[in-house]
Protein backbone atom coordinates (compact mmCIF):
# COMPACT_ATOMS: atom_id res chain seq x y z
CA UNK A 1 0.00 0.00 0.00
CA UNK A 2 2.58 2.59 -1.00
CA UNK A 3 -0.39 4.22 -2.74
CA UNK A 4 -1.33 5.80 0.57
CA UNK A 5 2.02 7.50 1.14
CA UNK A 6 2.15 8.68 -2.48
CA UNK A 7 -1.35 10.04 -2.21
CA UNK A 8 -0.40 11.87 0.96
CA UNK A 9 2.24 13.78 -1.02
CA UNK A 10 -0.33 14.53 -3.73
CA UNK A 11 -3.01 15.78 -1.34
CA UNK A 12 -0.54 17.86 0.69
CA UNK A 13 0.60 19.58 -2.50
CA UNK A 14 -2.95 20.08 -3.74
CA UNK A 15 -4.04 21.74 -0.49
CA UNK A 16 -0.94 23.90 -0.47
CA UNK A 17 -1.63 25.06 -4.04
CA UNK A 18 -5.31 25.72 -3.33
CA UNK A 19 -4.41 27.94 -0.40
CA UNK A 20 -1.77 29.71 -2.45
CA UNK A 21 -4.28 30.46 -5.22
CA UNK A 22 -7.04 31.31 -2.77
CA UNK A 23 -9.36 28.59 -4.06
CA UNK A 24 -12.50 27.92 -2.01
CA UNK A 25 -13.96 24.56 -1.13
CA UNK A 26 -15.68 23.00 -4.11
CA UNK A 27 -13.61 24.84 -6.71
CA UNK A 28 -11.27 21.93 -7.43
CA UNK A 29 -12.68 19.60 -10.07
CA UNK A 30 -9.79 17.22 -10.55
CA UNK A 31 -6.14 16.53 -9.84
CA UNK A 32 -4.23 15.16 -12.80
CA UNK A 33 -1.27 12.85 -12.35
CA UNK A 34 0.94 10.95 -14.80
CA UNK A 35 2.01 7.44 -13.87
CA UNK A 36 4.54 5.42 -15.88
CA UNK A 37 3.38 1.88 -16.66
CA UNK A 38 6.47 0.48 -14.96
CA UNK A 39 5.26 1.82 -11.64
CA UNK A 40 3.41 -0.82 -9.68
CA UNK A 41 0.47 1.25 -8.65
CA UNK A 42 -2.97 -0.13 -7.98
CA UNK A 43 -5.16 2.60 -9.44
CA UNK A 44 -8.24 1.71 -7.39
CA UNK A 45 -6.20 1.98 -4.19
CA UNK A 46 -4.84 5.31 -5.34
CA UNK A 47 -8.38 6.58 -5.98
CA UNK A 48 -9.55 5.29 -2.64
CA UNK A 49 -6.65 6.89 -0.78
CA UNK A 50 -7.32 10.18 -2.56
CA UNK A 51 -10.96 10.12 -1.55
CA UNK A 52 -10.12 9.36 2.07
CA UNK A 53 -7.37 11.98 2.33
CA UNK A 54 -9.36 14.80 0.71
CA UNK A 55 -12.47 14.15 2.78
CA UNK A 56 -13.22 17.07 5.12
CA UNK A 57 -10.69 19.29 3.32
CA UNK A 58 -11.24 22.10 0.79
CA UNK A 59 -10.40 19.55 -1.93
CA UNK A 60 -13.31 17.27 -0.98
CA UNK A 61 -15.36 16.02 -3.90
CA UNK A 62 -12.59 16.44 -6.46
CA UNK A 63 -11.39 13.58 -8.61
CA UNK A 64 -8.01 12.00 -9.12
CA UNK A 65 -7.40 11.75 -12.84
CA UNK A 66 -4.65 9.23 -13.65
CA UNK A 67 -2.94 9.13 -17.05
CA UNK A 68 -0.85 5.99 -17.60
CA UNK A 69 2.27 6.53 -19.73
CA UNK A 70 3.40 3.43 -21.63
CA UNK A 71 6.95 2.15 -21.41
CA UNK A 72 9.10 3.44 -24.27
CA UNK A 73 12.58 2.07 -24.85
CA UNK A 74 15.33 2.93 -27.28
CA UNK A 75 17.77 0.33 -28.54
CA UNK A 76 21.42 1.37 -28.65
CA UNK A 77 22.30 -1.42 -31.07
CA UNK A 78 19.81 -0.97 -33.91
CA UNK A 79 18.23 2.34 -33.00
CA UNK A 80 14.69 0.94 -32.60
CA UNK A 81 12.48 3.11 -30.49
CA UNK A 82 8.96 2.45 -29.33
CA UNK A 83 6.46 1.16 -26.83
CA UNK A 84 7.16 -2.16 -25.23
CA UNK A 85 5.73 -4.66 -22.81
CA UNK A 86 6.64 -3.63 -19.25
CA UNK A 87 8.48 -6.85 -18.45
CA UNK A 88 10.72 -6.91 -21.49
CA UNK A 89 14.06 -5.19 -21.10
CA UNK A 90 15.45 -6.13 -24.52
CA UNK A 91 14.87 -4.77 -28.01
CA UNK A 92 11.95 -6.51 -29.79
CA UNK A 93 13.64 -5.85 -33.12
CA UNK A 94 17.20 -7.15 -32.69
CA UNK A 95 16.98 -8.71 -29.17
CA UNK A 96 19.86 -6.57 -27.93
CA UNK A 97 19.91 -5.98 -24.16
CA UNK A 98 21.63 -2.64 -24.66
CA UNK A 99 18.48 -0.54 -24.30
CA UNK A 100 17.51 2.53 -22.36
CA UNK A 101 14.10 3.34 -20.96
CA UNK A 102 12.90 6.72 -22.18
CA UNK A 103 9.51 6.63 -20.49
CA UNK A 104 7.72 4.41 -17.99
CA UNK A 105 8.79 5.33 -14.48
CA UNK A 106 7.12 8.73 -14.22
CA UNK A 107 5.19 9.76 -11.18
CA UNK A 108 4.22 13.39 -11.45
CA UNK A 109 1.50 15.68 -10.29
CA UNK A 110 0.71 17.56 -13.49
CA UNK A 111 -2.09 20.01 -12.88
CA UNK A 112 -5.27 20.94 -11.10
CA UNK A 113 -8.49 21.55 -12.95
CA UNK A 114 -10.49 24.25 -11.21
CA UNK A 115 -13.61 26.33 -11.70
Amino acid sequence: MHELSLCKTIVDTVLEQMKKHDLPRGSLLSTKIDVGAMRQIVYEQMQFAYEVLTKNTIAAGSELDITVLPVIIKCNSCGWKGETDTIMAYCPECFSVDTIMLQGKELTLEKLEVR
Binding site: I10, R39, L109, K111, V114
Partner: protein
Protein backbone atom coordinates in the same frame (compact mmCIF):
# COMPACT_ATOMS: atom_id res chain seq x y z
CA UNK B 1 -19.07 28.86 -14.60
CA UNK B 2 -15.64 28.83 -16.25
CA UNK B 3 -12.99 26.25 -15.67
CA UNK B 4 -9.25 26.69 -15.66
CA UNK B 5 -6.14 24.87 -14.66
CA UNK B 6 -3.15 25.28 -12.45
CA UNK B 7 -0.03 23.62 -13.81
CA UNK B 8 2.23 22.08 -11.19
CA UNK B 9 4.66 19.41 -12.53
CA UNK B 10 5.78 18.02 -9.22
CA UNK B 11 7.82 14.83 -9.11
CA UNK B 12 6.07 12.81 -6.43
CA UNK B 13 9.26 10.94 -5.62
CA UNK B 14 11.17 14.22 -5.27
CA UNK B 15 11.11 14.42 -1.49
CA UNK B 16 12.17 10.79 -1.07
CA UNK B 17 14.92 11.15 -3.67
CA UNK B 18 16.27 14.21 -1.89
CA UNK B 19 16.78 12.16 1.28
CA UNK B 20 18.27 9.32 -0.76
CA UNK B 21 20.76 11.82 -2.14
CA UNK B 22 21.67 12.93 1.38
CA UNK B 23 22.33 9.32 2.34
CA UNK B 24 24.65 8.83 -0.66
CA UNK B 25 26.58 11.97 0.23
CA UNK B 26 26.96 10.88 3.85
CA UNK B 27 28.15 7.44 2.75
CA UNK B 28 30.59 8.76 0.18
CA UNK B 29 32.22 10.99 2.76
CA UNK B 30 32.80 7.97 4.95
CA UNK B 31 33.52 5.30 2.33
CA UNK B 32 30.51 3.26 3.37
CA UNK B 33 28.81 0.78 1.08
CA UNK B 34 25.11 0.00 1.40
CA UNK B 35 22.92 -2.81 0.14
CA UNK B 36 19.15 -3.06 0.31
CA UNK B 37 17.87 -6.63 0.58
CA UNK B 38 14.37 -7.18 -0.74
CA UNK B 39 12.31 -10.36 -0.73
CA UNK B 40 9.16 -12.03 0.55
CA UNK B 41 8.77 -12.95 4.23
CA UNK B 42 10.61 -16.20 4.92
CA UNK B 43 12.77 -16.12 1.79
CA UNK B 44 15.93 -16.33 3.88
CA UNK B 45 17.02 -12.69 4.12
CA UNK B 46 18.25 -13.08 7.69
CA UNK B 47 20.19 -16.27 6.90
CA UNK B 48 21.81 -14.42 4.01
CA UNK B 49 22.86 -11.64 6.38
CA UNK B 50 24.23 -14.14 8.84
CA UNK B 51 26.30 -15.93 6.24
CA UNK B 52 27.97 -12.76 4.99
CA UNK B 53 28.61 -11.34 8.42
CA UNK B 54 30.16 -14.64 9.54
CA UNK B 55 32.49 -14.65 6.53
CA UNK B 56 33.40 -10.98 6.41
CA UNK B 57 32.73 -9.79 9.95
CA UNK B 58 36.37 -10.23 11.00
CA UNK B 59 37.68 -7.65 8.56
CA UNK B 60 34.69 -5.41 7.89
CA UNK B 61 32.21 -3.70 10.16
CA UNK B 62 28.56 -4.07 9.34
CA UNK B 63 25.50 -2.24 10.60
CA UNK B 64 22.09 -3.78 9.97
CA UNK B 65 18.91 -1.79 9.61
CA UNK B 66 16.01 -4.17 10.16
CA UNK B 67 12.79 -3.26 8.39
CA UNK B 68 11.40 -6.75 8.54
CA UNK B 69 11.88 -9.17 11.36
CA UNK B 70 10.77 -12.48 9.94
CA UNK B 71 10.62 -14.17 13.31
CA UNK B 72 11.27 -12.77 16.77
CA UNK B 73 14.46 -14.82 16.79
CA UNK B 74 15.96 -12.92 13.87
CA UNK B 75 17.03 -9.86 15.81
CA UNK B 76 18.47 -12.10 18.52
CA UNK B 77 20.32 -14.16 15.91
CA UNK B 78 21.89 -11.02 14.44
CA UNK B 79 22.74 -9.55 17.83
CA UNK B 80 24.59 -12.76 18.59
CA UNK B 81 26.99 -11.94 15.74
CA UNK B 82 28.08 -8.86 17.65
CA UNK B 83 27.02 -6.29 15.11
CA UNK B 84 24.97 -3.15 15.38
CA UNK B 85 21.29 -3.80 14.62
CA UNK B 86 18.77 -0.97 14.43
CA UNK B 87 15.09 -1.70 14.20
CA UNK B 88 13.30 0.55 11.73
CA UNK B 89 9.68 1.13 12.55
CA UNK B 90 7.98 1.96 9.29
CA UNK B 91 4.65 2.52 11.02
CA UNK B 92 2.88 -0.30 9.22
CA UNK B 93 4.02 0.96 5.83
CA UNK B 94 4.77 -1.56 3.12
CA UNK B 95 8.26 -0.22 2.42
CA UNK B 96 11.04 1.90 3.86
CA UNK B 97 11.39 5.50 2.77
CA UNK B 98 14.66 7.36 2.52
CA UNK B 99 13.96 9.86 5.28
CA UNK B 100 13.53 7.13 7.90
CA UNK B 101 16.67 5.35 6.69
CA UNK B 102 18.56 8.64 6.72
CA UNK B 103 17.65 9.20 10.36
CA UNK B 104 18.75 5.70 11.30
CA UNK B 105 22.10 6.04 9.49
CA UNK B 106 22.73 9.43 11.08
CA UNK B 107 22.59 7.73 14.48
CA UNK B 108 25.37 5.29 13.58
CA UNK B 109 29.05 5.79 14.31
CA UNK B 110 29.92 6.27 10.63
CA UNK B 111 33.68 6.25 11.07
CA UNK B 112 33.54 2.67 12.29
CA UNK B 113 31.25 1.24 9.63
CA UNK B 114 32.15 -0.28 6.26
CA UNK B 115 28.74 -1.41 5.12
CA UNK B 116 25.11 -0.75 5.95
CA UNK B 117 22.80 -3.65 5.19
CA UNK B 118 19.11 -2.89 5.01
CA UNK B 119 16.66 -5.72 5.38
CA UNK B 120 13.61 -4.19 3.77
CA UNK B 121 9.96 -4.85 4.56
CA UNK B 122 8.96 -8.30 3.27
CA UNK B 123 7.33 -7.75 -0.06
CA UNK B 124 8.41 -7.52 -3.69
CA UNK B 125 6.31 -4.58 -4.77
CA UNK B 126 6.64 -1.45 -2.69
CA UNK B 127 10.33 -1.58 -1.65
CA UNK B 128 11.29 -1.72 -5.35
CA UNK B 129 9.68 1.69 -5.91
CA UNK B 130 11.75 3.60 -3.39
CA UNK B 131 15.35 4.71 -3.65
CA UNK B 132 16.80 4.69 -0.14
CA UNK B 133 20.26 5.86 -1.13
CA UNK B 134 21.74 2.36 -1.45
CA UNK B 135 24.48 1.16 -3.83
CA UNK B 136 22.51 -1.90 -4.77
CA UNK B 137 19.12 -3.46 -4.33
CA UNK B 138 19.40 -7.23 -3.91
CA UNK B 139 16.36 -9.22 -5.07
CA UNK B 140 16.03 -12.43 -3.05
CA UNK B 141 13.81 -15.27 -4.19
CA UNK B 142 13.74 -18.69 -2.52
CA UNK B 143 13.06 -21.95 -4.33
CA UNK B 144 9.98 -22.41 -2.11
CA UNK B 145 8.33 -19.56 -4.03
CA UNK B 146 7.10 -19.45 -7.64
CA UNK B 147 9.38 -19.41 -10.71
CA UNK B 148 7.15 -16.72 -12.19
CA UNK B 149 7.86 -14.12 -9.52
CA UNK B 150 10.42 -12.21 -11.63
CA UNK B 151 7.84 -11.58 -14.36
CA UNK B 152 5.11 -10.85 -11.83
CA UNK B 153 7.27 -8.27 -10.08
CA UNK B 154 9.48 -6.99 -12.93
CA UNK B 155 10.34 -3.63 -11.38
CA UNK B 156 12.28 -5.21 -8.51
CA UNK B 157 14.35 -7.34 -10.87
CA UNK B 158 14.97 -4.35 -13.13
CA UNK B 159 16.03 -2.08 -10.29
CA UNK B 160 18.19 -4.73 -8.60
CA UNK B 161 21.97 -4.92 -9.05
CA UNK B 162 22.02 -8.62 -8.26
CA UNK B 163 19.62 -11.43 -7.54
CA UNK B 164 19.88 -14.28 -5.06
CA UNK B 165 18.01 -17.55 -5.48
CA UNK B 166 18.08 -18.95 -1.96
CA UNK B 167 17.42 -22.27 -0.21
CA UNK B 168 18.95 -24.25 -3.09
CA UNK B 169 19.40 -27.18 -0.66
CA UNK B 170 15.63 -27.68 -0.74
CA UNK B 171 15.45 -27.84 -4.53
CA UNK B 172 15.44 -31.64 -4.78
CA UNK B 173 12.35 -31.85 -2.58
CA UNK B 174 10.38 -29.30 -4.53
CA UNK B 175 8.61 -28.91 -7.80
CA UNK B 176 10.57 -25.77 -8.63
CA UNK B 177 11.92 -25.31 -12.15
CA UNK B 178 15.21 -23.51 -11.56
CA UNK B 179 15.99 -23.08 -15.25
CA UNK B 180 12.64 -21.45 -15.84
CA UNK B 181 13.22 -19.16 -12.87
CA UNK B 182 16.61 -18.05 -14.22
CA UNK B 183 15.17 -17.49 -17.69
CA UNK B 184 12.36 -15.39 -16.18
CA UNK B 185 14.92 -13.22 -14.39
CA UNK B 186 16.87 -12.82 -17.63
CA UNK B 187 13.72 -11.86 -19.50
CA UNK B 188 13.28 -8.91 -17.18
CA UNK B 189 16.93 -8.01 -16.70
CA UNK B 190 19.35 -9.87 -18.98
CA UNK B 191 22.44 -8.38 -17.32
CA UNK B 192 21.57 -9.18 -13.70
CA UNK B 193 24.11 -11.35 -11.86
CA UNK B 194 22.32 -14.31 -10.26
CA UNK B 195 23.65 -16.19 -7.21
CA UNK B 196 22.16 -19.60 -6.53
CA UNK B 197 22.96 -20.49 -2.95
CA UNK B 198 22.03 -22.29 0.25
CA UNK B 199 22.99 -20.37 3.39
CA UNK B 200 22.47 -23.51 5.45
CA UNK B 201 24.95 -25.73 3.61
CA UNK B 202 27.19 -22.98 2.28
CA UNK B 203 26.63 -24.04 -1.32
CA UNK B 204 27.22 -21.10 -3.68
CA UNK B 205 27.82 -18.68 -0.82
CA UNK B 206 31.41 -17.85 -1.87
CA UNK B 207 30.31 -16.17 -5.11
CA UNK B 208 27.84 -14.06 -3.19
CA UNK B 209 30.52 -13.11 -0.66
CA UNK B 210 32.85 -12.10 -3.50
CA UNK B 211 30.15 -9.79 -4.83
CA UNK B 212 29.68 -8.23 -1.37
CA UNK B 213 33.44 -7.74 -1.10
CA UNK B 214 33.40 -5.94 -4.44
CA UNK B 215 30.78 -3.53 -3.07
CA UNK B 216 32.94 -2.87 -0.02
CA UNK B 217 35.99 -2.16 -2.19
CA UNK B 218 34.10 0.11 -4.57
CA UNK B 219 32.84 2.22 -1.68
CA UNK B 220 36.36 2.60 -0.28
CA UNK B 221 37.72 3.55 -3.70
CA UNK B 222 35.17 6.27 -4.32
CA UNK B 223 35.39 7.54 -0.74
CA UNK B 224 35.78 11.29 -0.51
CA UNK B 225 35.43 11.82 -4.25
CA UNK B 226 32.31 13.50 -5.51
Amino acid sequence: MSTGEIKIYKDLMGENDKWAGNIRKMRRENGISMINIIGSPGCGKTALLESMIKKLGEVSNFAVLEGDVETTNDAVRLKALDIEVSQLISGGACHLEAKLVHNAISDLDLEKIDMVIVENVGNLVCPAEFDIGEDAKVAVLSVTEGEDKPVKYPLLFQEAKCSVVSKMDLLEHLDFDIEKCISNIKKVNPRLPIFKLASLTGEGVDDWIAWVQEQLENAKKSSGSS
